[in-house]
């Protein structure tokens, strides 16, 4: 088929005109990404970013008709550099929406600024309680989880399994402390008893001495918080010390997330609670995992899910306000109404802007994370100290 010159010119002119008119009312939507692209958490930052871009492509690269311009800054998971990085995105790059980070320390620094600047902010990983607790703000949402959600439901699971006398072991920094506090709250309510608490300085990974201690105490079970390399090492040491077959191991989901391969047979039988599992059997999850694999060549994970849902939640809310990020009040109201059929299951925001989501019990069987069921349906963070919850 050949185009005549006249129709070609006409079509071009028309599209130019349309483009200009469009451009005037619909500037590009600038989304800031404050994520780690180097260091220990680089893989997490990349997965969140790629999942966000995947979600955007599923919407033809546009949110409410506005094209997206991504502005990414490597936060290096360094809380010390966070204020400068946040300011760079808000004041320098003038992003419409700020997203990130992975590290809770960076998130705390970010909160101080966005509460002043009122930038619409979506936290895509960091689980610090304060983000949707003491520091909660109308312009701040979270699409990942609160630390409370990853460990409180495990208390019920353990009590149901008949584990009454339990040893706690955790890395002694905010994530570990908050996880343990949430667990203890649920465990005490159900009549469980904490026999001993072992706080390990972060990021030490020499556990042998403490494991010998656990073996001499002989508790019904052990509940732990470790993540990443420390989790891989802990689970192996636990099995090597002969404890795996004697004292069942429970934990928040980060104990096995992403390190199952390194843990190998040592992880067999461990039960954890988390708001997602790779093997979760629903249509949205299958579709998401296939698409992510096709786009990146990597397997999707819990971090990618948060990135994916962030863009879909934003898209749904922006459509209600015709893509006008200036109408922040209406946009926030629209976000509060968002209901997603997420790969993790039903998803909506609480009054404190933290996800209300199912938390699942998972168990490692045959080297794979299998879902045993729902530990807590529509788990909602108690949002201690959040003024928005009290007000409504």
């Amino acid at each position: 088929m050949s185009l005549s010159r006249r129709t070609f010119l006409g079509a071009t002119a028309a599209s130019f005109a349309a483009g200009r008119a469009f451009g005037a009312s619909k500037a590009k939507l600038r989304i800031g990404l404050l994520l780690p692209y180097s260091g220990t958490y680089a893989a997490l930052g990349n997965n969140i970013t790629d999942a966000m871009k995947l979600a955007a492509r599923e919407r033809d690269g546009k949110l409410a008709g506005r094209e997206i311009e991504w502005v990414a800054v490597d936060d290096e998971s360094d809380p010390g550099k966070a204020p400068a990085n946040v300011n760079k995105l808000i004041a320098g790059e003038k992003v419409d929406i700020l997203t990130g980070p992975v590290h809770s320390g960076v998130a705390m620094a970010m909160m101080q600024i966005v509460r002043q600047e009122k930038t619409l902010t979506i936290v895509t990983n960091a689980g610090a309680q304060a983000v949707t607790g003491q520091l909660c703000a109308p312009n701040v949402f979270r699409t990942s989880f609160s630390n409370w959600q990853t460990s409180n439901p495990c208390a019920e699971v353990m009590l149901k399994d008949g584990r009454k006398n339990v040893v706690l072991m955790f890395w002694n920094y905010s994530f570990g402390q908050e996880s343990m506090a949430a667990f203890k709250e649920g465990f005490a309510k159900g009549g469980g008893k904490i026999v001993k608490e072992i706080a390990v300085p972060f990021p030490q990974t020499e556990f042998q001495a403490n494991l010998s201690e656990i073996a001499s105490i002989k508790p019904d079970a052990v509940f732990v918080f470790f993540a990443g390399a420390g989790a891989a090492k802990f689970v192996k040491d636990y099995a090597d010390a002969g404890l795996r077959d004697k004292v069942p191991l429970y934990g928040s989901g980060f104990l096995t997330e992403g390190v199952l391969g390194a843990q190998g047979a040592a992880a067999e039988g461990i039960k954890t609670t988390l708001h997602y599992a790779d093997s979760l059997d629903n249509a949205a999850n299958r579709k998401f995992r296939d698409a992510f694999k096709k786009a990146t060549g990597r397997e999707a994970d819990v971090y990618a899910v948060a990135g994916y849902d962030t863009v879909h939640a934003l898209a749904a809310a922006l459509e209600k306000v015709q893509g006008d990020t200036g109408a922040q009040k209406e946009l926030i109201a629209a976000l509060e109404q968002v209901r997603l059929d997420s790969p993790r299951g039903p998803f909506r925001f609480s009054k404190a802007h933290n996800p209300i989501q199912n938390v699942y019990v998972r168990q490692v069987k045959g080297g794979k994370e299998t879902v045993l069921g729902i530990a807590q349906k529509d788990a909602e963070d108690p949002a201690f100290g959040c003024a928005m919850v009290a007000a409504k």
Binding site: Q208, S216, A241
Partner: protein, 286 residues
């Protein structure tokens, strides 16, 4: 604490100390004889662990990894010494710190490039995948017994080499007066190359033995390096014997610190170092 638990914690501390000795002995020799502050020593430990993971994943045998990996790392150590360290012998410590710290960054990037940022596990050799009962209620992994025994063997072999061989004699002479050794017609250059290469191989061996225990992850070299420096300082610079007892002291104080003073555990090693330096400012063997 019951007696059997105390005995077990004693074992835990000694085992941790012995592994640390393998790393620290190379560091103290290179510092004592060559006069070089080698920050890259921890990187050799990390590279050893990654090599163990890489070779064991392909051959299914940790022994093969050690047999291939240790000579390979000795060669790498020799090359690094010739290319990077040798020109620095007559320079001050600051230049050495800068260069070897640069090497740390280089090796970290190489590791990221070759192996990625994931955490990897290395399987315990099947022959040693059982547990030894200790006392009535406790068990100890056989692989830890093996590493402890292996470290003792290496330490004994090092003692023999240093006390009984010509090479060892030169090393001892070099440690006390390198210029005099050179004046006596001994090729110090070759001696230094051999020593640096041996130190590298020792650090890599420690990394390989530790790989099934610690898993393999980015940045694993740095934490070992800090502890090794503590051992070198406690033991007295350049002294293998000092490093041996220093490492045991660090291992034991870390282990018992964790059990008895959990809130203070991360500081206890440094408190012990300070206490030793107050009594013996030049270290245990200084």
């Amino acid at each position: 604490m019951t007696l059997s638990l105390f005995g077990l914690q004693l074992l835990n501390g000694i085992e941790q100390g012995l592994l640390l000795f393998l790393v620290a002995s190379g560091l103290t020799l290179v510092f004592g004889v060559l006069g070089v502050l080698n920050f890259a020593h921890g990187s050799f430990y990390m590279l050893g662990a990654y090599l163990a993971y890489w070779i064991a994943a392909r051959t299914g045998s940790l022994l093969a990894a050690v047999l291939i990996g240790v000579p390979a790392m000795a060669l790498i150590g020799w090359i690094v010494e010739r290319l990077a360290i040798a020109p620095l012998y007559r320079r001050d410590h600051l230049s050495q710190v800068l260069l070897t710290y640069g090497l740390v960054l280089l090796f970290n990037e190489l590791q990221r490039f070759a192996f990625g940022n994931d955490v990897h596990g290395v399987d315990t050799p099947r022959l040693l995948a059982f547990r030894v009962p200790v006392g009535s209620a406790q068990e100890w992994p056989a692989y830890r017994v093996f590493t402890a025994a292996a470290c003792i063997c290496v330490a004994a072999a090092m003692r023999q080499v240093i006390l009984k061989t010509r090479f060892g004699m030169r090393v001892r002479a070099g440690a006390s007066n390198a210029e005099m050794v050179e004046a006596l017609g001994i090729d110090v250059r070759k001696l230094f190359s051999a020593l640096f290469s041996a130190g590298t191989a020792l650090a890599a061996l420690a990394g390989m033995l530790a790989a099934p225990l610690t898993t393999v992850y980015p940045g694993m070299g740095e934490s070992v390096l800090v502890l090794s420096f503590v051992v070198v300082v406690i033991g007295g610079i350049g002294s293998i014997r000092g490093a041996f007892f220093g490492a045991l002291l660090v291992g034991l104080s870390d282990t018992f610190g964790k059990v008895l003073l959990p809130g203070f555990a991360s500081a206890i090693v440094y408190a012990v170092m300070a206490a030793v330096l107050l009594v013996r400012p030049r270290g245990l063997a200084g």
